[in-house]
Symmetry: D2
Subunit: 277 residues, 4 copies
Amino acid sequence: MNTARVLIDCKDKKGLVYKISKVFYENDLNIVSNQEFVDKESKHFFMRSVVEGDFQKETLKSQLTLALGDGANIKVIEPAKKNIVIMATKEPHALGDILIRYIDGELDANILAVIANRENLKGLVERFNIPFIYINADNISREEHEKKILEELKKYKIDYIVLAKYMRILTPNFVKEYEGQIINIHHSFLPAFIGANPYKQAYERGVKIIGATAHFVTDDLDEGPIIAQDVIPVNHRFSWRDMQKAGRDVEKIVLARALKLVLEDRVFVFNNKTVVF
Amino acid sequence: MNTARVLIDCKDKKGLVYKISKVFYENDLNIVSNQEFVDKESKHFFMRSVVEGDFQKETLKSQLTLALGDGANIKVIEPAKKNIVIMATKEPHALGDILIRYIDGELDANILAVIANRENLKGLVERFNIPFIYINADNISREEHEKKILEELKKYKIDYIVLAKYMRILTPNFVKEYEGQIINIHHSFLPAFIGANPYKQAYERGVKIIGATAHFVTDDLDEGPIIAQDVIPVNHRFSWRDMQKAGRDVEKIVLARALKLVLEDRVFVFNNKTVVF
Amino acid sequence: MNTARVLIDCKDKKGLVYKISKVFYENDLNIVSNQEFVDKESKHFFMRSVVEGDFQKETLKSQLTLALGDGANIKVIEPAKKNIVIMATKEPHALGDILIRYIDGELDANILAVIANRENLKGLVERFNIPFIYINADNISREEHEKKILEELKKYKIDYIVLAKYMRILTPNFVKEYEGQIINIHHSFLPAFIGANPYKQAYERGVKIIGATAHFVTDDLDEGPIIAQDVIPVNHRFSWRDMQKAGRDVEKIVLARALKLVLEDRVFVFNNKTVVF
Amino acid sequence: MNTARVLIDCKDKKGLVYKISKVFYENDLNIVSNQEFVDKESKHFFMRSVVEGDFQKETLKSQLTLALGDGANIKVIEPAKKNIVIMATKEPHALGDILIRYIDGELDANILAVIANRENLKGLVERFNIPFIYINADNISREEHEKKILEELKKYKIDYIVLAKYMRILTPNFVKEYEGQIINIHHSFLPAFIGANPYKQAYERGVKIIGATAHFVTDDLDEGPIIAQDVIPVNHRFSWRDMQKAGRDVEKIVLARALKLVLEDRVFVFNNKTVVF
């Protein structure tokens, strides 16, 4: 008895659900859950099914490919722990939240290592018996620093890299190496504030709400496909440092929520946006 | 070119999606949207599809019945305005909110009449050219009062009755006449407070959150299947009357949200709970 | 027995609360409620007290001025209905919500008139026995249009102008005439989207949250001091028109909340931000 | 230069703010922040001020007592780390969240020890160099178990006991020993569900919102004064175990928020409710 998550997306056309469910039916599979969506603007079809039964992953994939023709993206994924590496700088809230969930068995993941450009989180990480790799960024170029990180990353077979308040900008070169595999969390405001110290700008504008956005990293800084967002209320009694502290709670919860969605293969990326089932 | 909302629920078994989508495929229908859910506890299957194409509603329903066998609840609904009657007492917030949405064309409904046991809302309702029926409850029994209401209701072909802060309890007899067709809104608290003046009890307990629940009415007072809920924060500065006032905003928004879901045929009721697509 | 709202703001220094409460004490006033705040960055003091007793407003103000010296902004406001004019274009949701609250006695205001640059809201407004003034903007310059509006506005003694989805930009000249008296509502996003059709941009980015901001209008378009904000969740199933519709609920609630705060004299403006008690 | 948090509550009467601020003024103190509230129902006055200056705590307290007369509760508290003990059972989410905040320096507290009736959290706690005291409850009476816990607690000078998902009911005897010093977190629902497995009951009712309540522990089980509450949305796709998991995030955030408020001396308890500044 196998279980698989089947993820399909392709140009929308008539009969897709029929053709896919026919393959499931002929394999005598049980559909545990099933969600579809058609993006009307782009006329694109998305489907995520969890199926159970006596089947071979590769055979099932071939049959689905045959049924749908070329041009369909088809993944048949066995539910299994994914391998992740966390990158951080110095703040423990987002990293620590992931670590506690990790030992609670809440995350379907192996944390292979934590890489940081500061040393202060070493104690925390090693308490959880996870390798802590300190790669100092002082006095070297961004490219040199990333080269060192990439050397470490290459030692692992990585599914996802989680930026848990990693405070440095990644170069397009780095992003290309792990395209669609890097998840970031950043603060968000209504309205948005661009440039240095956005919390101070938000404070000066007197915003009443602050938030956080978890997204895939693309070349376009903080502009990748959004996975999850949330907000909390603030008021005039909050200094900008208070806002920053209050923001930590929403940052860590939103990052964890996004990570969980990704680990459960619930997120499609298409045209710089996500479909989340 | 027809459009229909197809709602199906039945005992879960293998091949349901296949059999249903086969009927759609063989009728050359376009699936505009499609959502399924299987309740694991009760092993019950729910599906809502919006389909487009050249078909006859009755024929489609027959074909689906043939495909699924007895025991499946199948509805093929043409998207059309539903007929509703609103019942109210004296507060204008929930009623008024529906009226404004009504003239904005936001509700897919005809408001046939407003029935109230007080007279003060007459002016408001008649401004919208909707019949206002005042049925005084003074000095008569609950049964006599309901009998008069039922006489008025029988004049109309009604899809749903919306209790927009109708402050009287309905008898089982009344509820049976419009089973599954009556939507109510009531305040909700964490924790709940039972008995007289729950706002005062909530105030005395110092709750930090108050809410509202929209639900179908069953014999079990305020215990019918929940359609929508929401909350707002309060604090010690709120008197119980302030809480009551603040609660109005969440009551009206939640009732309107529930009404919209029902008018779009998005709500299944099963075992005293709802599946909302 | 009089009641007054006393609003004071001035440069922070020692003894302010003492000096103010001494005046209240010597007048044998009862302090019904009292809130203070010191903005640490700007070292500015804010205080709002509601006092009851046997006093003359002008005398009390003089005594407070004497106690605090020059440079203190002191207002002694009798709680009374404020006079407001609403400006709208064609959408009824924000306007209608205010009208329903108005007849419910929830707003401490007289609505003197509704001015619109489209004619379709006339029926709605006149149902509430409020003058509807239609001022067509077609084929005339912005300045000419505003001149006509100002002519109408000059007929009234206005405390506040509420832009209930008035879809035209006001010129600095207009804003100057009613500085600090104009309240606007606009949609808000995380991140923000600037330019044409922000809902479409938000849709294309796949945002998971949309919101609304109520603010005072300044010359800087949509950048005036924020009074209130709120958000609602959305997801990939929302088209940009769905987002726009969903946004209406949060727009109307946030505008009404801001209006209520302003009518109760709870909002200080200082340095392009608000202190809201 | 000293700093103190001054907390005063007493029967409301005229001149309280004047008399208190006069003492501050005559001591040449700077009022850093100041909040007051009068509960209209109980006619009780609450005030929390943070003052800076050159003063003796005991002298200031005497002067305030003299100014206000008997019957006023006056506390002059030096801002300092409070001593807390955490009690837990087996779930790591609430405990772990506190531990991460602790090493981040976010909590103004010393965690003296963690006491648990299960052993599985030992590894987690000891990673943070905090004593873990395992007190098995098997085969002994509730009184015997609590006696052992009290013996351990008596070794410390404790300000607050935090029940971080401690799953046993405390006896009135235990509660009396630490009256007003025990903080608990429990799940909350709209409507509430009483008895065994409330998550299962909430699931069966199909609730759309679940929440958490942090409160002081009194003899009346889960009915003590509420400090903080929050909620998250759920839907029909959540099994009751999913609800329970989702509830963890809101439980830990609400407990941490309540703990922070208590550590900053922001919470008054009066008549089974709180005033939170």
